[in-house]
Amino acid sequence: MASSDLKLKIKKMIVERLFLDVEAQDIGDDAPLMETYGIDSVALFELVVGLEDEFGVVMEDVDFQIDTFKSVNSIAAFVQEKVEP
């Protein structure tokens, strides 16, 4: 999947899972997700489930790093690493 397609799919997943009142394409690739959308551990859990459902990415113990969820870019990098090792 092209990087831009992957990022848009991630943004759509974030908007859908967190019931955000924004357009997916309006989320900046580098926007700080935690601060911008007030993401807490409950919301993070929804994203973890979304990554598994949408991309087949299962988080291992070593993957529980706050930096993974910093931005759409960091999530995209994580997904790419998992699906294309």
Binding site: S41, V42, D61, I66
Partner: protein, 292 residues
């Protein structure tokens, strides 16, 4: 005055009732002022999910009462205000508790059709009990289909919280680097969070999202597989999906087909995961429209 007569006048009656093994379960009986059309036994989820879902389930009971149905909500032994320690609880004992709740409800309103509503793990238990207790209706809200996945998800949630705590404390310690005790405290909590993150997979988990897990309960959870169930004969069943999508997720659809259930998708946040209250009108509508 008989307890049945009392209960028909009471709109909301908290009480204790007995379950096998000398357990005293806390329950709340809600009934309309006239003879109820049906009795709903509310099978709650547990651990943090029960706390988050509590208000919504109470509102659901009130909605049922408003349309002329009675309900009995209760706490499994070791949970809520019921007796016993969580660490001694097992799924088998909680099924006993559902059985006892059904008996108590039928004692209060003899001859009234019985129905079960379960949420998450409570739905899984309700599914297992529906035929045995003679339920004519069964509503399963986001049932846990695979216990192993459920325990894994609890483990993930715990790790995410530890990760957030670790990050928060690291930021605080960095901003308070002149206060040695603040840094020391932060280091202590961070070490604790790090231990959680360093824990192995869910098979090694000794608690369920902060609730101590006995070996028996852990084994029962990991063996739980609702997909192996076949249709519950004579029990009309509704499976409710709650989440962001209107399409039923394939695993839930397969499960519903297996058991011959109707499905409904309710687009709303998973209220059993939330700290904040969220209105559940769409969920109530789905349940209330599932007529006898």
């Amino acid at each position: 005055m008989s307890s049945a007569a009392t209960s028909t006048r009471s709109r909301s009656e908290p009480f204790f009732f007995e379950s096998p093994g000398s357990a005293r379960l806390f329950g709340v009986w809600r009934a309309p002022s006239s003879q109820p059309r049906a009795i709903w036994i509310i099978c709650p989820p547990f651990a943090e999910e029960e706390k988050s879902a509590h208000r919504t389930l109470v509102e659901l009971c009130e909605a049922l009462r408003a349309r002329g149905d009675a309900s009995l909500s209760f706490g499994y032994r070791g949970t809520a205000d019921s007796s016993g320690d969580f660490v001694q609880a097992t799924l088998a004992l909680w099924r006993d508790d559902i059985r006892a709740a059904c008996r108590e409800a039928q004692r209060r309103a003899p001859g009234v059709p019985l129905a079960l509503i379960g949420l998450r793990l409570g739905a899984s238990l309700a599914m297992q009990m529906a035929t045995e207790v003679g339920a004519s209706r069964l509503v399963l809200i986001e049932p846990v289909l695979h216990g192993r996945s459920y325990v894994g998800a609890m483990s993930q949630r715990k790790k995410l919280r530890a990760m957030m705590t670790q990050n928060d404390l690291a930021q605080k310690a960095a901003s308070q680097n002149t206060a040695a005790d603040a840094a020391s405290n932060a280091n202590g909590f961070a070490a604790s969070a790090q231990r959680v993150l360093a824990t192995g997979d869910e098979a090694d988990m000794d608690d369920l999202d902060g609730w101590p897990l006995s070996t028996t309960l852990r084994g029962e959870l990991q063996a739980l597989d609702l997909m192996s169930h076949v249709a519950t004969s004579g029990v009309r069943t509704l499976v409710v999906q709650v989440g962001p999508r209107e399409q039923i997720a394939p695993p839930l659809q397969r499960f519903a087909q297996n058991v011959g259930a109707t499905t409904r998708a309710v687009v709303m946040k998973p209220f059993w995961n939330l700290v904040d209250y969220t209105r559940a009108d769409a969920l109530f509508e789905a349940v209330l429209n599932f007529e006898f």
